[in-house]
């Protein structure tokens, strides 16, 4: 336990610090700070002998501020702490050694007491510095603990220099091993790159602060101001009675849909010369070019649309003048004598129309079914019977004639005459053309029938 290198502790400065009354510390004084510096320098040089590897020979105090001085003390205390930890572990393994130490400690009780004093003084000193420079208390406490440990186990550390060197080598080795292991081991999932939910532990993503880009626009942050502004807007709208929503503006397509020109997959019937000729004609004189199929369709569609428009105009337009229809010149007899202004639209108005009796003219009274008397009904039935009888007689006569004459010419003659008779029966309003047509169709159909019979 002999420590020949220990410098004799000059406790003057520490004593002076110790004797200072606590209220004096409240005001920064140059004298006190000098004393504190001196004391810490003394303590440093005292502890320096325990850590031979420390880069600093002594505490540099002149012209340094508190932080710098603390750094220097840190440099000294860190290796000391490691050494002490190691020692404690060693003692845990074989507790017999503690006994030895205890003896030594008892032998050096005086020293220990002194040490205690030093600790106390140091505490004062630190508090002083804390007051002076506003250092945080917990940091100071940490440092204090270090100092205490130093006080207790300081002597056990420097048994011999060889042990110390061996220890550092081991420490280096262990550090290297640790680093190698860290390199070889599997990395944490956050460092693995792309990771799916199955590849990481449950809820692990909640614990880490992930920084990645979102593609979607973030949802608006709902703050109090935001909601109040919304509410205000709603209130304002209610007050104004304005409940309309923004109307969507539908834009009609300005261009017609593009025509999809179908490719003709059949062999063209036209020769190449004709194809080029058509192209040339279309280029030089588009009007003369033959209509395409789609053009014909367009024309028909436009015609239909025009018709529809005419009808719709007639319904909706008050003073609608229909398109003048040029017909044959005719004198209209049934025109009202006085042209009166009508309220109804012209298209709807029946001012220029015929009277019902002009439209439907019939002889005598026209009676409904329910209006007929019994006598009327009887007369009707008798008339019907008479007509039917006449028809039946005619039919039987025709059959008899057919049976008697199978001669072609005779039949034709007969048929002819009958046809003529029928044509005579045609309504009066049938024109000459119509009559001719009927005759022709009748004759042809008759001939066909004759031919059928012969076959």
């Amino acid at each position: 336990m002999a420590t020949p290198s220990i410098a004799p502790l000059d406790l003057g400065a520490l004593h002076r610090l110790k004797l200072t009354e606590p209220p004096v510390w409240l005001a920064p004084t140059a004298e006190l700070s000098d004393a504190a510096r001196e004391a810490s320098r003394q303590l440093f040089s005292f502890l320096k002998s325990h850590t031979p590897k420390s880069p600093l020979d002594q505490l540099l105090v002149e012209g340094f501020d508190a932080e710098q001085i603390w750094q220097q003390i840190d440099l000294l205390s860190q290796p000391l702490l490691y050494g002490l930890k190691r020692e404690v572990k060693k003692f845990e393994k074989n507790p017999d050694e503690i006994g030895k130490i205890r003896k030594v400690l008892e032998g050096e009780r005086k020293d220990f007491e002194r040490e205690k004093e030093i600790n106390e003084l140091e505490q004062y000193l630190e508090e002083d510095e804390a007051r002076e420079y506003g250092l945080k208390k917990d940091v100071i406490n940490d440092k204090k603990k270090v100092r205490r440990k130093l006080g207790v186990f300081g002597e056990g550390d420097e048994d011999d220099g060889d042990m110390d060197q061996l220890g550092t080598a081991r420490k280096l080795q262990s550090e290297i091993e640790k680093m190698e292991k860290a390199n070889m081991d599997q990395k944490a999932w956050t460092m693995q790159g792309e990771v799916t939910a199955a590849q990481r532990p449950k809820n692990s993503a909640l614990e880490v602060d992930l920084d990645f880009q979102h593609n979607v626009r973030p949802a608006p942050v709902i703050t109090e101001e935001f909601t109040t502004s919304l509410e205000e807007m709603i209130k304002k709208r209610i007050l104004e009675g304005q409940f309309d929503d923004a109307q969507k503006i539908f834009t009609l397509p300005s261009k017609a849909p593009r025509e999809l020109n179908e490719l003709d997959e059949n062999k063209s019937k036209k020769g190449l010369a004709e194809v080029y000729e058509e192209e040339f004609v279309q280029k030089t004189n588009p009007a003369a070019a033959p209509l395409l199929f789609s053009d014909e369709q367009k024309k028909e569609a436009s015609m239909l649309f025009k018709k529809l428009c005419l009808k719709l105009d007639a319904l909706s337009h008050f003073h609608f003048t229909p398109k003048p229809v040029i017909e044959d010149m005719s004198i209209q007899m049934n025109v009202p004598a006085l042209a009166m202004e009508e309220i109804a639209p012209i298209a709807v108005s029946d001012a220029a129309m015929l009277a019902p009796e002009e439209v439907f003219s019939s002889k005598g009274d026209v009676k409904e079914e329910t209006e007929l008397t019994q006598a009327d009904r009887k007369r009707r039935r008798a008339n019907k019977k008479r007509k039917f009888k006449a028809k039946a007689a005619e039919r039987s006569a025709k059959r008899a004639q057919d049976n008697t004459s199978l001669n072609h010419n005779d039949v034709q003659e007969l048929y002819y005459t009958k046809m003529i008779g029928r044509i005579e029966e045609l309504p009066k309003n049938y024109g000459n053309q119509a009559r001719k047509k009927v005759r022709v169709t009748l004759i042809t159909s008759y001939r066909f029938r004759i031919v059928e019979k012969f076959w």
Partner: protein, 221 residues
């Protein structure tokens, strides 16, 4: 002789100037006839007939003969011994280029075009025949080659006809040889689509491209 003539002309000019003081009327030269241009020499063209076109030629001989003889005023005959169609200018041939046109027409028929299509060569100036082979586009062998030819023609010639109608050309696919008849720009479009078919693109894709191209062409006017 010549010098004497020129002297005479000069003399006439001086006389007229002296008389009225104005320039003489311009001489009006008739354009040279085709036979006069080459010193009265008759020009020939020969188009050889491949054996597989012998019978078709015999069948449509009158269709070929009439426009050439009547419209183009070119003499035409079939040399049976040499298996060649021979064309010759006449004294009344209006244009020397008619001979070449007729030769092109006959040649187009020999390549396999129909007479109604080939006649366009006589009627229009800006028509050409372009020929290429599949191996010029891509070296294909065996089944690949036959498939390529199949792609070109399509089922029942559908693809070929579609290209023909869209581009206003006529196409002949004779084994690995392809002949296109049409105007310069149209040939280009047809050739492009044929090439992409050879290179393996499906018919549908070629159709859609064709549609776009022809629509653009139609808008150009």
């Amino acid at each position: 002789m010549q010098s004497k003539e020129s002297m005479e002309i000069e003399a006439v000019q001086s006389q007229s100037q002296n008389e009225s003081g104005s320039l003489p009327s311009k001489p009006n030269f008739e354009p040279l006839k085709a036979h006069e241009m080459s010193d009265g020499r008759v020009q020939f063209r020969k188009v050889s007939v491949p054996p597989h076109r012998y019978t078709p030629l015999k069948k449509v001989w009158m269709d070929i003969y009439t426009p050439i003889y009547d419209q183009m005023k070119i003499d035409i005959r079939m040399n049976l011994k040499g298996r060649k169609v021979e064309l010759k200018t006449r004294a009344d041939t209006p244009d020397i280029s008619n001979l070449q046109k007729c030769a092109d027409f006959v040649h187009a028929f020999m390549l396999g075009f129909d007479v109604v299509d080939a006649v366009a060569l006589l009627r229009l100036d800006e028509l050409y025949v372009e020929s290429f082979e599949i191996k010029d586009v891509k070296t294909l062998r065996g089944e690949h080659l036959s498939r390529a030819i199949g792609r070109l023609s399509g089922k029942g010639g559908k693809t070929k006809f579609a290209i023909e109608n869209a581009t206003k050309t006529r196409i002949v696919i004779a084994d690995t040889k392809i002949h296109i008849l049409g105007s310069f720009s149209n040939i280009k479009i047809a050739r492009d689509s044929l090439c992409s078919l050879i290179l393996g693109s499906p018919a549908g894709k070629v159709y859609s491209k064709l549609r776009a191209v022809t629509a653009r062409l139609a808008e150009r006017f």
